[in-house]
């Protein structure tokens, strides 16, 4: 009986994980969005605005999580990002921001060396996820 309950619980947990994964919201990436706002200011804000419709040297990051790469109509993307054909899931952002931008997307205009602090990266992505 108890084995059955355990089995159900394990099954639910697995399904929940799969659902989170499918929605691009891995629990493992859960960070502190408030702390992530500070990380955004120190790492991103000179080139990107969190406000909708406000492009700087880089495009607005309002609603970035879930957005198709290179999809803001009035921003002049590099060909490399226009052709990237990916969706900015939290997982993708984690991959992209943890390495030099030109390594992740050769030909991009973005000059970013990557964020190697795992906690700051999680916090940042949590903030980006919350900013929509």
């Amino acid at each position: 009986m108890s084995k059955t309950r355990f089995g159900r619980a394990a099954h639910c947990a697995l399904m929940t994980g799969l659902l989170f994964y499918g929605a691009g919201t891995l629990p493992a990436l859960a960070g502190d969005a408030d702390a992530g706002k500070d990380v955004f200011k120190q790492e991103c804000s000179e080139c990107h605005s969190p406000r909708e419709g406000k492009n700087k040297k880089g495009p607005s990051l309002f609603g970035i999580v879930g957005r198709n790469a290179g999809s803001i109509g009035d921003y002049n993307y590099s060909d490399a990002l226009k052709n990237a054909k990916w969706v900015w899931t939290e997982d993708k952002l984690h991959w992209y921001l943890s390495q030099p931008a030109k390594q992740a997307n050769p030909g991009t205009k973005m000059k970013y060396p990557g964020l190697d602090n795992a906690k700051q990266l999680d916090d940042l992505i949590s903030y980006l996820q919350s900013n929509h």
Partner: protein
């Protein structure tokens, strides 16, 4: 003839008023907010300037300058025009207070193409009694090649044409770039407050490179313009920097942007032969200096910027005039030091404290009445810039209200009776040169 002897003698005659002019020059460090750049890039003023108003640059502002002012948000061509109007109330320790519209500036500033950009500032200044003088102020035109690879490292190479050696410096701690230098009796060629300064009165070019984001190098040369040209550009021919020849400018700096912090260490050199007046024998002059800067940026809530500049000038004079049976020395030196600390809160409220020292070798002929050119001053500035941030009323324009104190503790090598007035005459002490200025500038 000594390069600066005529000025010393004039200064001895009517020094306080000339000094007030020098003081106002020293006070001019409130300019350089360029909203045209904000419109071009979509960035806020505060992205490039910690206090949302120049001239001190953040690391991002340094990169923008290095890239020849060409960065853009990619959303069409913007009109590369901006303006600044400044009104001020000056309250000197001695003399009449004035309240006036002190300066109106027009900037032609921005990109022409991905590789070509610039900065040109034209100033109309109130020179008293509602008389105005218009002059060409700073000039910095650049061609830049970005995203080059040398030995596998990212490299930027540029060519700059400008009218003040060091104005184009990315770190912007050197006097011509920071608009901050000690009020000087002697003073180095790289100090904008020196007599016969080169500031905005020469024309030259340099080639510069930034290698691997951290190593900056620049080599250039400068020449003076004809005195008629200096006059036409709005400067008094009496401020002629003289005829320059064999002039070389060299700069190397290591700069490290750690996002939350920034630091740099650099060296600078300027060597020239100068004839002043232009038919006089030439003085051999070499400036050698170093500068150190540190910035704590954090999450931009509390920003601290510290800079220290030390420039030593060696002079071999072309002549040794004799006054009262005493011959001037054939060699001399001058040293200018500037230490500045600025704290900025919420990119809006700032306190800047600067300690400024100008010293030089003793020479009873060249530096009457005491034979010492030493001066020491402090500047304390408190200012508020309500706009120019991403989340403010406007990020593309700004207002700056500043209260600035100038405090002198030494001039002409003395604290008391600095002009050596005889008994019974009006005595001027160093502190009589103190002044307070309240100013409001709007840039749009």
């Amino acid at each position: 003839m000594s390069s600066s002897l005529p000025l010393r003698l004039r200064r001895a005659a009517h020094a306080p008023w000339l000094l007030l002019v020098a003081l106002l020059m020293f006070a001019s460090n409130s300019a350089h907010a360029i909203p045209a750049y904000a419109r071009q890039t979509g960035s806020a003023c505060a992205d490039c300037h910690a206090g949302a108003y120049g001239p001190a640059l953040t690391p991002y502002g340094m990169r923008f300058k290095l890239n020849g002012y060409t960065d853009t948000d990619g959303q069409g061509t913007k009109i590369p025009l901006a303006a600044q109007i400044t009104g001020s109330r000056n309250v000197p320790e001695r003399g009449e207070s004035t309240t006036q519209l002190s300066e109106a500036d027009v900037y032609l500033a921005g990109r022409i193409s991905d590789h070509l950009g610039g900065f040109v500032k034209v100033v109309t200044e109130n020179i008293g009694d509602d008389h105005y003088n218009t002059k060409l102020s700073n000039l910095d035109l650049r061609f830049v090649a970005k995203d080059l690879k040398i030995a596998g490292k990212e490299t930027t190479v540029g060519v700059a044409i400008n009218n003040s050696p060091g104005f184009d410096d990315p770190i912007a701690a050197l006097p011509y770039a920071s608009s901050l230098g000690p009020p000087a009796v002697s003073g180095t060629l790289l100090n904008l407050s020196s007599a016969h300064t080169l500031y905005n009165r020469v024309i030259g070019g340099s080639v510069y490179a930034l290698y691997d984001n951290d190593y900056y190098g620049e080599i250039g040369t400068y020449n003076t313009m004809p005195t008629s040209m200096i006059d036409h550009l709005g400067y008094n021919p009496a401020s002629d920097p003289g005829r320059l020849s064999d002039t070389g400018y060299f700069r190397f700096a290591y700069m490290k942007d750690l996002k939350r912090q920034f630091f740099s260490a650099g060296v600078v050199a300027l060597t020239t032969k100068r004839q002043l007046p232009r038919n006089a024998p030439s003085d051999d002059i070499t400036d050698l200096g170093y500068d150190l800067t540190y910035q704590f940026l954090g999450n931009r809530e509390h920003i601290v910027q510290v800079s220290y500049v030390n420039i030593l000038e060696q002079r071999d004079y072309g002549s040794t005039p004799v006054v009262g049976g005493i011959a001037a020395k054939s060699q001399g030196n001058a040293r200018d030091q500037t230490l500045s600390v600025t704290y900025t809160f919420k990119q809006s409220y700032a306190l800047q404290v600067a300690h400024l020292i100008s010293t030089g070798s003793q020479d009873p002929v060249r530096y009457p009445p005491f034979g010492k050119p030493d001066s020491t001053a402090n500047m304390i500035s408190l200012y508020w810039t309500p706009f120019g941030k991403d989340d403010s009323f406007t990020s593309l324009a700004n207002l700056k209200i500043a209260g600035t104190w100038y405090r002198y503790t030494r001039f002409n090598g003395a604290s008391m009776n600095i002009f050596g007035a005889p008994v019974g005459a009006l005595i001027t002490n160093a502190k009589d040169l103190d002044a307070f200025t309240l100013s409001a500038s709007v840039a749009f």
